[in-house]
């Protein structure tokens, strides 16, 4: 590891730490709410969404933030992207561990985490599955965020900020809507072929045991695909006023 790599990685992690601390603060609010209001069931899946959203922001904002330091210190795009990847992997692992740990506390997550209950993940193997799935999910969302982040660099700050809500809408809200529909109208799933198809896509077929490996595969494909795009866009990134 060259000194430059280490220095650039440190800058990346500093930028990402800002997002991580912010996310942790948001997460703590949910923890307090669940402790005080007994809304542990809600917290069970809201912590999943906080994690995913943070991953997206890590890719979208924190990664391009560090470009300024890269430009000022003669860091090549290649080295910059390598350190960004390492930083995002570290953050994803930390978040996967944190969310899984928090979900294992009954008073916080009620009957367990959303992921574990939906995919029937129990015992030590189940915990490992949870960590792996979350890790890959965060990486995928970070890759999507980073790809969009580099692509939107030439846009103005306001547009970029507005895009955050776009990303949120695109990436998190459909899942949230699906969960709400399933909770509100449990019969709809058995009635709707479309919903069954969507659920089967993420490894939740109606009459068979859930298949978390399908979800893992989806996140892996997303990570690789958007990771490739992020590298493509990132390698072309140039100095502009927005960095």
């Amino acid at each position: 590891m060259t000194t430059k790599f280490r220095a650039m990685l440190r800058v990346q992690l500093q930028m990402m730490a800002i997002v991580m601390v912010g996310g942790l603060f948001g997460g703590l609010i949910f923890v307090v709410m669940s402790l005080v209001g007994g809304t542990a069931e809600v917290n069970g899946w809201s912590s999943e969404f906080i994690g995913l959203y943070m991953a997206a922001i890590l890719g979208y904002f924190a990664t391009p933030w560090a470009l300024g330091s890269a430009f000022q210190n003669g860091v090549s795009r290649k080295l910059f992207l390598q350190t960004a990847a390492v930083g995002l992997i570290v953050c994803s692992a930390l978040m996967a561990g944190f969310v899984t740990a928090v979900s294992a506390v009954p008073v916080l997550a009620g009957t367990g985490s959303f992921l574990a209950s939906v995919y029937h993940l129990t015992g030590a193997a189940g915990t490992l599955w949870c960590v792996a799935l979350r890790f890959m999910a965060y990486l995928a969302f970070a890759a999507i965020g980073a790809a969009l982040g580099f692509l939107s660099l030439p846009f103005s700050g306001k547009v970029r900020f507005a895009l955050v809500f776009g990303i949120y809408g695109l990436m998190v809200l459909p899942g949230l809507a699906l969960v709400l529909v399933m909770m509100a109208l449990p019969h709809l799933v058995t009635d709707s072929g479309m919903l069954q198809f969507l659920l089967a896509l993420v490894g939740l077929p109606l009459h068979r045991a859930p298949q978390p490996q399908i979800l893992l595969l989806i996140f892996t494909v997303l990570t690789l695909g958007f990771g490739f795009l992020a590298v493509r866009f990132g390698r072309r990134a140039e100095l502009n006023d927005r960095v």
Partner: protein
């Protein structure tokens, strides 16, 4: 010792051609002036050298290898510019440390001396500084990096006359103690003309002048006198500009026939770099003026 070579460096933004094939060479241990009007592309050129922008065509070579995406080359090149690229909430001393980590070395004693000379408190956060002191913080970093090629884009932006003088003195001092190449892009030409020994003029996207300052000042003359006499003395000499005033004529030339005796009534004076630059770029300007 390595030199930096520019080979047909071209850069377009959309359909705006800012650089149209720049060719020049930066030798080691020199103090250069890079002159050009607003929008001439000086910053674009320096950004290409420092890998912040990519050339559309052409190459900048260090030891025969392109500096673009070249980690080894970029470790030996530094650019101080107006762009706000440092994390604003960092303290100045943290920026010193960051720079040291990035480049592997940093002249800490010099940084301490410069901070004192300029009256900059290294505990201050970068964002809290005034425009002038932000420039000073960046200048201190630029003078303390272990790089062979240090580009200073508008190095005195927002600096008052006293701090400008301190900067020029400290630059001369550090350059004398540890020769490396500095490239100064500034519009305050008269302030750097005793410092730089060679100038490049960027005009219309290409290098239109590439000369030693001593050569230029040895040849540049302002000739004043009765129109006929001035014309007679100059003969077929190439004249940059003639300013008639009644029967009198002032002619600016880079090629005065100094071997001929000057007729009575005609005065021949020297031309400083600023005046020469003005005459050379009078009709040029940025791409926006095209």
């Amino acid at each position: 010792m390595s030199k930096l070579e520019f080979k047909q460096v071209t850069r377009t933004f959309g359909n705006k051609k800012v650089l149209r094939g720049v060719n020049m060479t930066w030798e080691p241990g020199q103090l250069y002036g890079l002159l050009g009007r607003n929008g001439a592309g000086k910053s674009t050129l320096m950004n290409i050298v420092n890998n912040r922008l990519f050339p559309t065509a052409g190459k900048v070579l260090l030891d025969g290898k392109s500096v673009t995406e070249n980690a080894d080359a970029q470790n030996r090149i530094f650019l101080m510019s107006a762009a706000m690229l440092y994390p604003g909430d960092s303290r100045i001393e943290q920026l010193f440390t960051l720079t040291k980590q990035m480049y592997g070395a940093f002249d800490d004693p010099l940084a301490a001396h410069l901070a004192k000379a300029f009256g900059l408190d290294p505990h201050q956060r970068f964002r809290k500084l005034s425009t002038g002191y932000r420039t000073i913080a960046k200048l201190i970093i630029a003078l303390c990096v272990p790089c062979e090629f240090v580009m200073l884009d508008e190095p005195v932006l927002g600096l008052d006359a006293n701090n400008r003088e301190i900067f020029y003195q400290e630059l001369a001092n550090t350059f004398a103690n540890k020769p490396r190449t500095f490239i100064i892009a500034s519009h305050l030409i008269e302030e750097i003309e005793n410092l730089v020994t060679h100038v490049f003029v960027l005009d219309g996207g290409t290098i239109t002048l590439d000369e030693d300052v001593a050569e230029l000042t040895a040849k540049g003359r302002v000739v004043t006198g009765p129109t006929a006499l001035v014309h007679e003395w100059l003969g077929g000499t190439c004249v940059l500009r003639e300013v008639p005033l009644g029967g009198m004529l002032t002619a600016y030339t880079l090629d005065a026939p100094l071997e001929k005796p000057v007729p009575a009534g005609v005065t021949v004076g020297g031309m400083d770099l600023q005046q020469m630059y003005l005459e050379l770029t009078r009709n040029g300007g940025g791409v926006d003026d095209d």
